[in-house]
C-alpha cells in the first residue's frame, strides 16, 4: 500500500512583507495567524491526514537554522535542505528523491508553507480526493479555487472535461495560465471554467518521475541521481545532482506540459497572503476597521483612522492619527509607511533599499 507523505515548501524569499520579513526570516516565519507563523499553521493543518513522521519541510540553508528553532518538534531528518535556493522544480525533485528512498510507491502532497486556508475539514476532504485520483499511479492532481474576483496576482487553471471517481468536482486540466492582466482575468472569471491555481499538488512518486521524464528529462535524471546518492548516503553527489536540475518552476517545467494533469475544485477559503493588505483576510479589524497584527509586546492606538493595516512586533506602540488606508509596519530596526495600493509593489521599495546599499535591512 502506498504511504502518504507531505512536503511543505518553505524556501520563499522575504520581499512582500518587508521590513517584517527578511531573507533569513521570510513570510512563513511571521506570526500572522493569531500569533502563529503560517508554516506552523500549515503543519497543524496536516495533522490527522499524514503520520507525523511523514511530514517533510523543504527549505534552503539560509533559513534552516531559524526553521529548526521555530519548529522544535520537527525531527531534524524531516528537514529537506536545498543546497541553494532555486525555483520549485529542483525542490520537488529533491523531495521526490528523498521520499522515494523511504517508499518508492509513496503518494506525495506538495504544498506551500505560507498560505491561509480554511476550513480544516474541507482541506482534508480535498486532499483525500486528490489521493484517490492519484491512486491510478499516473494522474498529477492540482487544486483550483473558484475565483471571487478577477485577481491579477494569481495563476489560473483551465478546466476541461469532467473526471469521474472523486467526491469533489474534478476535471482534466487543459491549461496553466500565469498571472493574467486585468482584462484576461475578467474573461477567465466570466468564462467560469478557470480556477485559481492554489499551488498544491498530489501525485504518486512514480507518476511525477514519469512526467518529469516526459517533459523535462534533465529533471528526471537529476531526481534519479539524487535518489541514488541518498541511498548511498553520498551528500556531495546529491548536491551535484541537485545543481543539475533546471532552475524553473514545477508548473513551467512539468505541469504545463504533462498530459495527465487533473484539477479538483477545492471547497476551501484560500489566500496566498501575498502582501500586507491580504492580512485583512486572516486578521480581525479593531473598532475603527483597522487590521492589526501585534506580537511580542506590540500594541496599537488609533484615533480618527480607518482602513489601515498595522503590523507591529516587539515592545512598541503604533499610534495612528487621522490616517486612512495605509500600511504601517514597525519592527526592531525598521518602520515602513506606505499606502495599501503601493503595498502590492513592495518589491520596488526593496530594490530601492538594496540600491541604497542597505543590505543590513534585507
Amino acid at each position: 500500500m502506498s504511504s502518504l507523505h507531505a512536503v511543505i515548501m518553505a524556501g520563499g524569499s522575504g520581499t512582500r512583507f518587508w521590513p517584517a520579513s527578511r531573507s533569513a526570516r521570510p513570510k512563513q516565519f511571521l506570526p500572522l495567524v493569531n500569533g502563529k507563523p503560517l508554516i506552523e499553521a500549515t503543519l497543524d493543518r496536516l495533522r490527522g491526514l499524514c503520520a507525523d513522521d511523514n511530514v517533510w519541510v523543504a527549505t534552503n540553508k539560509k533559513q534552516a537554522k531559524a526553521l529548526t528553532r521555530l519548529l522544535p518538534n520537527l525531527p531534524r531528518d524531516r528537514l529537506i535542505i536545498e543546497p541553494e535556493p532555486r525555483d520549485t522544480a529542483p525542490c520537488v525533485a529533491l523531495a521526490t528523491a528523498t521520499i522515494a528512498a523511504v517508499d518508492p510507491t509513496a503518494t506525495m502532497i506538495v504544498l506551500p508553507a505560507d498560505h491561509a486556508i480554511e476550513p480544516l475539514d474541507a482541506f482534508h476532504s480535498m486532499l483525500r480526493a486528490g489521493v484517490e485520483l492519484a491512486s491510478d499511479q499516473k494522474t498529477l492532481v492540482t487544486f483550483g479555487i473558484r475565483p471571487t474576483y478577477p485577481a491579477t496576482g494569481y495563476g489560473y487553471l483551465q478546466c476541461g472535461s469532467a473526471l469521474a471517481g472523486t467526491k469533489l468536482p474534478a476535471f482534466v486540466a487543459t491549461k496553466f495560465c500565469e498571472k493574467p492582466n486585468l482584462e484576461t482575468a475578467k474573461q477567465f472569471v466570466a468564462q467560469g471554467n478557470f480556477l485559481w491555481n492554489s499551488g498544491i499538488f498530489v501525485w504518486r512518486v512514480e507518476a511525477i518521475r514519469r512526467a518529469m521524464a516526459a517533459t523535462e528529462p534533465a529533471l528526471a535524471t537529476s531526481t534519479t541521481a539524487m535518489l541514488a546518492a541518498i541511498q548511498k548516503q553520498e551528500r556531495a553527489a546529491c548536491t551535484r545532482a541537485f545543481l543539475q536540475a533546471p532552475p524553473r518552476s514545477i508548473d513551467y517545467a512539468v505541469m504545463e506540459k504533462a498530459d495527465t494533469v487533473a484539477v479538483i475544485e477545492a471547497p476551501i477559503r484560500w489566500d496566498d497572503v501575498g502582501s500586507f493588505p491580504a492580512l485583512a483576510a486572516i486578521a480581525a479589524p479593531d473598532g475603527e476597521g483597522n487590521i492589526v497584527v501585534a506580537n511580542h509586546g506590540g500594541s496599537h492606538l488609533a484615533l480618527r483612522s480607518r482602513g489601515n493595516i498595522v503590523y507591529v512586533d516587539g515592545a512598541r506602540t503604533v499610534a495612528l492619527f487621522g490616517v486612512s488606508d495605509l500600511v504601517v509596519v514597525a519592527v526592531d530596526d525598521a518602520v515602513l509607511v506606505c499606502t495599501k495600493d503601493q503595498a502590492h509593489d513592495l518589491k520596488a521599495l526593496v530594490e530601492h533599499v538594496r540600491a541604497a546599499g542597505r543590505t543590513d535591512l534585507l
Copy 2:
C-alpha cells in the same frame, strides 16, 4: 551699574511633539536643530551677550535631572527649579526673586527655551536695543515679529505710537492679543501694526516688581516673599511663597495690564517650533522634499514619497513608500503616523493615549 541676566524658561510640557516628547523629555530636549536640542541652541545664542554665570534656566522638578544631564556645563546653582509646573507668571516671579537676590538692580532677559531664531547678530541687536529701552527702570520690553502670513497659532502685539531712543523700530504696546481666528489674523496682517508676540522680554528687576504690584499684587507679594526666603536660604518658605503666586501666564497677569510696555520690531527669523510640521522651518529637506530629523543612528529611505515630515531617533530606519504629507515619528517604544494637518491637534491624540490608560507613553 545694572548687571545683565538671562532666564531661559524650560518647563514646557511634551504634548505637541509626542511620542518624541514626553512629560520628562519636552520639546526643548529633542535634538531638532542639527542634532542639537533647542535649549542648547538657546544657551549658545546668549553667548557674547550675558556673562556665562548670569544665564539661568528655569524648569520644574520633573525635568531638572534630565536637564542637568543635557547641560553638564550649566552650574547647578544656575538652575531655577519650580516646586511644581505652573504657568509663566509664577516662573517669572521666582526668577525675578532669584536674580534680585544677586543684584536688585539687574536687567533680565526672559526667553523661552524652545524657539528657533536666526540670525544671531540680529538677535543680539534686538536684545541690546531692549536693554537700552529698559534702562529707564520702568519700561517692560517685548519683541514682535512682522507676520509673514495670518498665523492663528501665535499671539499678536498691537503697536501704538513710536518710541525714540533705540536703534530698532520700537512702539508703545497697546494691546496683547491671544491666538486669533483666521479672519482676525487676516485683519491684523492687513492693518500692518500687529506683530507676532515672540514671548521674549527684557526688563529691570525693579520695573517688573513694580508692574506686578500695579497689576497682580499677589504676584508681587509672592516675589517679595520668595526674595526674603532666598536671602535667608529658607527653601520651604520659598516653596510656600511660590505656591501663592497666581497660576497664570505672565502675559495675562501683568503684560496686558501694565502701562509701560514697549514692543521692539525684531529683525529676526523666528519660529516657535510648535508642531512637527514646523520642522520644515528649521531642518533641510531630502531630495524628494521630505523633512527629516534623524539622530542617534536613525535613518530614512523614501520612494515615491513627497512632503513628509520624518522624525527618527535610535538605530532604526523609517522607509516611506508612496505617501505624501504625513508625519512619521519613530522612537524606541512608539511610532506615530498622522497627517500634517492633524499634527497641529496632537493634543487630542495624547488625550486618547491617556484615556486608553497608556500613561507609560506620556
